[in-house]
Subunit: 396 residues, 2 copies
């Protein structure tokens, strides 16, 4: 009567969303200040002032019909030109507005890209730990998800596994740096090794293998000395998926883009397939007002010092309490080894202290948990004694 | 290398979008006042003042993190409750916020609904003329589009054809009243006949057949004495797809909803499948600010008197010039019989006069054209002499 897969996806929410909803309900019961919700990547830092200022300015200055009307399906031309010019300047890869396709955020960027590329029998490779919804998006596009391991010390890709796994059905490798959930940032050497393997394998199998770079956390980097450069510099067959959700703290507004590397072969055809996929999935155009806001605020960020402070606070304390943590260079997640084998059991025990976070199982990495520290610093400060009790309960 | 279907959809834009883009380019060449673009349903009437007022009020009064953060996937609870209460009062079908799923506009409402319902081998019935993108959305969800005729005089469904066409593979009938492109509004008798057939056929084949009611033009009704009621009153297995694009003149902002009739069997399961499909397609949540704007402005409309004036002006003049037109009760389209057999040739001839409209072929109705009159009245006044010349060229 209905689609079983869609029912399963809708009735079993993602664990993240499940805990997020639980936290909201629990806050009603015992007060929001007593629930320590580290489940969801919902930025706690306000959008930069320029976001609301530009909303008000655009609303005041633009005639209603021009402001709220359809834009071209790929996005308003001047918006795309502005963002492309910034991109070229900021990340050292020359692109034009005609290489950009504005989307309703990162999820849309990914589903559109995956549908655009998909052919029967395709495989898409990701490295665990990986953002849980990748599985939903990849399988939703009809492709097979292939999960490869990372090194447990560095959380960087296991390249030997990659060399073995790539085959004639490999359509692409989907990477995410800074990484959700590990917080790890790929350095230049990692990118070069990865792209070197893809280039060699592409030649070996006589077919193109795309690098799909999911970059919602691109601006959220705290220590790395390396200047963030475009992955397009490392690899021609690269498609960048971006969202302003995290950099501008507006995940609810659904605004982002896809950038198709103009240096790839048949770039115009790939771009056309992106347009076609957006159309087929029902996106029509990205939200018009926020297209303009994105152009006005492109390159700005929310106050990242809060996340850096949170990271330092949480990483240092949890390490001190005896937890094993991956030191996160970017994003706003701390990846922590569960204090017992079953990460879900560990999460359940934490829940007794009103500490809510997500088991690594859904990120393809059992035995670990993800703690989203994009919360108010005060919330972390008040949670630390509870983390300490949790550590003590485990005798760490 | 890429998906052929997506490439085809992206490289061959919809005729509507094609002409819309041509019109924009042509306006650059000869001035916007000399191009008479009747191609796209982009409202010409400003959004009601309350839209921008509520944007400014919401932005001023809501803390950034709450305002721009993720809402629940199905939409903010208070937004859904408000809209559901209005719906129940306005359209005589009691629904709650938990029956509503907020979407990124009408196209998203449809693709999500179609994916939620889809099982292998499904057929979805539409009546020609039908909105051209239905084909894209239905086939994108994996179903087969079945096109049935309408009566050429009334443009109402051919019910004898429906009785013959429904079979064990029929998953649903997708209707659109007020209709794009014909402007026809289904009266009570039409709805009762349609739903009677669906109920009987559902019984005959021992399976449910859904009525999917696509209602972006619900508020755009000019003459009909009938109070607009919910199709849920006629049929339990009914899903309403709505968008604020036309009623509030904000098609670029992408905001609408799906309402699952709570009186249908397994309504909660169907709703869950809707949630799952939204997730799979990458929608995450509808744009947060505009969810709140929709709740604040639900039930308001742009100044519809402009469309009524446009309709009267255009219908009366074109009829007088000798064109055969369907009298449109609603929406903002005039459906006109082409003055030669090939509607595309007719459009090409009109283009010489800078009159731009869309051939009925893409609406499954060759030999007719759609003229979108959601333009400034002055534009119609200035176009009328050109329409008259066109009529004269054909010796009407």
């Amino acid at each position: 009567m209905i689609n079983d897969k869609m029912y399963a996806l809708g009735s079993k929410r993602s664990s993240i969303r499940e805990i997020f909803e639980y936290a909201k309900a629990r806050a009603q019961e015992i007060g929001v200040e007593n629930v320590f919700d580290f489940s969801i990547g919902n930025p706690s830092v306000p959008a930069p002032d320029q976001v609301n200022e530009s909303i008000e300015k655009i609303v005041r200055e633009t005639p209603s019909v021009a402001l709220h009307g359809y834009t071209s399906a790929q996005g308003d031309k001047s918006v795309r030109d502005t963002i492309a010019a910034n991109y070229s300047r900021r990340f050292g890869a020359a692109i034009s507005g005609d290489d950009l396709y504005m989307t309703c955020g990162a999820a849309a960027s990914l589903t559109i890209t995956l549908h655009a590329l998909h052919e029967n029998g395709d495989e898409i490779i990701v490295f665990a730990p990986y953002f849980a919804e990748y599985k939903v998006f990849i399988e939703g596009a009809g492709a097979k998800l292939v999960v490869l391991p990372s090194d447990e010390k560095t959380m960087l890709p296991d390249f030997a596994a990659l060399e073995k796994a790539v085959n004639v059905r490999t359509k692409g490798v989907l990477i995410n740096s800074p990484n959700n959930p590990s917080g790890v940032v790929y350095d230049e050497k990692t990118m070069e090794t990865l792209c070197g393997i893809l280039a060699a394998k592409s030649k070996e199998f006589g077919k193109r293998i795309f690098l799909i770079s999911d970059e919602p956390y691109r601006e959220l980097v705290y220590d790395t000395k390396t200047v963030v450069v475009s992955p397009m510099r490392y690899f021609d067959d690269c498609i960048v998926c971006y969202s302003y959700s995290k950099s501008l703290s507006l995940p609810g507004e659904r605004i982002g883009y896809i950038a198709v590397n103009p240096r790839m072969e048949n770039a115009k055809e790939v771009y056309a397939a992106v347009c076609g996929a957006g159309r087929s999935l029902g996106f029509v155009c990205a939200p018009a007002l926020f297209q303009r806001v994105a152009a006005a605020c492109d390159g700005l960020t929310a106050d990242l010092s809060v996340y850096k402070r949170n990271r330092d606070l949480l990483y240092n304390a949890l390490t001190e309490y005896g937890f094993t943590c991956i030191y996160p260079d970017g994003a706003f997640y701390l990846f922590v080894k569960a204090a017992e084998k079953d990460a879900k059991a560990f999460c359940a025990k934490a829940k007794k202290y009103e500490l809510l976070f997500v088991a690594g199982d859904d990120f393809g990495y059992p035995g670990w948990v993800r703690i989203a520290y994009c919360v108010r610093t005060e919330q972390i400060e008040r949670a630390l004694p509870l983390f300490q009790k949790l550590a003590q309960e485990y005798g760490l």
